[in-house]
Point group: C2
Chain length 425, copies 2
């Protein structure tokens, strides 16, 4: 791996130059056509696109409940047990994210409050092929159901050999209400606007290829979307006490996802830097997904050597990695220094894949530096808030002059008159 020993300032400058590009106008034009066709022709457009893109003739899109039950019955006992343990841990963690409203009555005659209400209908996009991950179905569906979502609709591209059984089993376990065999931009359009078969949803979750991501961005406003997911990152902060083979294995666990994944080690030890670099090379040679992981390591990855602990955290906060491992003695001591990271793994035994599968925190995390402003998927993503107020005549009279003053300063005479229409004569 590339080892960088530049100054902090120089490294921060490099990080700040990484920006997300705008959407490609050519892809956007194709996606616009697909969206407009689905809006105009509904199910027929979906059938045409699934024929064209996925080479399947569909008469209906929705899987029966029996197909989901059969999938759950078909998986082996070890997988079933692993999914059940994951479900239990994800549930116990996400229950703590449930939010409540409040009511106040601090001033005479005034009641004010806020209600937290679940979003009624949610769509979940699950990619096809090798990126169909049962664990990701649990990570989206469990918080949705804890939030109280009424109807959770999953869409996933049709496959020649049928939809991945483990994915369907996870959907059944997590309480997904409908599964539709549709994919790509056409599936996003169907969820955003509804068709004869597919319900219009209020918010769309889940990752996909560039067509799916572009479609999500384009329908944003008509529906809410979770995020625009980019490539995965792992950042490790470690010193000489860390074991090079463990650090290397963790870096590779993210590198194997995608050629664009970015594995990063920040350390104060040139010895560890060299040892991890050697271990990465050694472990790469036996990794089944070597080609992908090697591209990620060589083109995207780097090891930064910085002598001061504070500087290591300054750099990592600027990177804002999706996953952040702290492999230092007494790792919890550093929690206060972490400002930007999706999920944090404290100490040697908190290996990143532990968080991917069973620990319970979410594994759908802000990527590509968006931890500056985004959160892991959580129960809070499946609710919205409504405020309310009630005033007595006397309470309104006390504040009426302030309201009419501000309204008139803003040139909104109708606002002032609405208040004056309440004056008791």
């Amino acid at each position: 791996m590339k080892i960088i020993t530049d100054s902090l300032e120089s490294q921060l400058k490099q990080v700040s130059q990484r920006t997300a590009g705008l959407t490609d106008p050519k892809i956007e034009a194709s996606v616009r056509e697909i969206i407009e066709n689905v809006q105009a022709k509904g199910d027929q457009a979906l059938r045409d696109y699934e024929k064209k893109f996925d080479n399947v003739d569909l008469t209906s899109f929705r899987l029966s409940d029996q197909e989901l039950t059969d999938a759950l019955d078909s998986i082996d006992d070890d997988l079933r047990e692993a999914l059940e343990v994951a479900k239990a841990n994800i549930t116990s963690f996400h229950k703590k994210e449930i939010e409540y409203g409040f009511v106040d009555s601090e001033k005479p005659g005034v009641m004010r409050g806020q209600k937290v209400i679940s979003i009624a209908t949610v769509g979940l996009y699950v990619p096809g092929g090798t990126a169909a991950y049962p664990s990701s179905v649990l990570m989206n569906a469990i918080p949705a159901k804890l939030a109280g979502v009424n109807r959770l609709v999953m869409v996933t591209p049709p496959q020649k050999d049928g939809i991945n059984k483990a994915v369907l089993a996870a959907a059944k376990l997590a309480g997904v209400d409908d599964v539709f065999q549709i994919g790509g931009a056409q599936a996003i359009a169907a969820l955003a606007y509804g068709t004869e078969s597919v319900p219009r949803v209020d918010k769309i979750f889940g990752p996909g290829n560039v067509f799916v991501a572009t479609a999500k961005k384009m329908v944003f406003g008509q529906v809410a979307i979770d995020m625009i997911a980019g490539p995965s990152e792992i950042g490790v902060i470690a010193d000489d006490s860390a074991k090079p083979a463990q650090v290397a294995a963790d870096l590779l666990s993210q590198a194997e996802h995608d050629k664009r994944s970015r594995p990063i080690l920040v350390t104060d030890s040139i010895n560890l830097a060299n040892a991890v670099s050697d271990e990465v090379e050694k472990q790469l040679q036996t990794l089944p997904r070597e080609e992908i992981a090697r591209a990620a390591v060589e083109d995207q990855g780097f090891i930064a050597v910085l002598p001061k602990v504070d500087d290591m955290f300054t750099l990592m906060n600027a990177i804002a990695p999706e996953h952040l491992e702290i492999q230092l003695p007494n790792p919890t001591d550093y929690l206060a220094q972490i400002k930007n990271a999706g999920s944090v793994f404290l100490g040697r035994y908190a290996s990143e894949p532990l968080g991917d599968y069973v620990a319970g925190p979410n594994h759908i995390l802000p990527t590509s530096g968006t931890a500056r402003f985004s959160s892991p998927v959580g129960v809070y993503d499946f609710v919205k808030r409504t405020q309310f107020i009630q005033y007595t005549s006397d309470a309104l009279a006390k504040e009426a002059d302030y309201i009419t003053k501000l309204a008139r300063v803003e040139g909104l005479e109708g606002h002032a008159r609405a208040i004056e229409a309440r004056e008791e004569k």
Copy 2:
């Protein structure tokens, strides 16, 4: 106003046909050019665009702290007092929205938790001209500062006679850190990517014209954005106990904002429907912004008559209005039936402008039916979450088989090996 007496089914169908359009490709092409120019040329591009669009020659963009202090000193005492009262009420309400993380240690050797961290740098767009509202500055800036935002950067288009003094006074009162005189898509680009003078922010808030809205949508992903704001709506549910003059005045208070505003009354009383319609016409005739309000009333507004109370709420939940007034006896009894609304005004004295100015709940609300999935602006919009886990060796050993099973089912051998690298030999 148009009075509709169709069945609930027919009215619901009409509501469901209202969809948000996609962005206009021509506007998008112009905005793309502006964004790319600001990315490439920084301040020079901003100067060029401000010359071209706002016809001003700027040497520097940032207002001095003294200019803000002078603005606050320049406003009259009544306005100052109204702004102070509004600030106190907005603060006391929004303090209740502050969120905290958690730590659990339910299982031996396992610590899991979540930290709530403020977003470091936030941009706030404030439109120029007559839509420069000091109240909206308070509504964005107060929750931002309660959340702990480090640097709150306001941008607003330069004006020939200088920026609106009341807006600057509100910015000073609410703790805005920087005010830059830039507007339009170029201001959004500057906030998203940074220039020599303007800091790159993490999230952009505030409404604007179609160029601003398009730019916000295009930079979404590089930064977070609050929402795509559409025209204002007010929905009133009322029966014969309501006073027609008050209902009409409230409908007009939203109608005067914009020709595209939508005033809606849903009632079980044809008498009230007729009386409100007459009152609206009467009040329109003396309203300074009659032209705007009349267009909104005639082109966008309607009165729906539905005999059953439940049906009135079903229709209103489908509309998901930005503002919802309940002018029925015992209005609080209906709180449970409200599923989709930005802010709710209970009873005769909770006139909508009370919420716009001084009651304390936010007035920046989800418009155009987006209350299905969005919340009022709140403290929660200025924070993000980070999760963390710590496991002992024993705790990891208990769950290791589940992790390696799931990793291998997903074809991610590197993930399984990272866990196996922790096995004690």
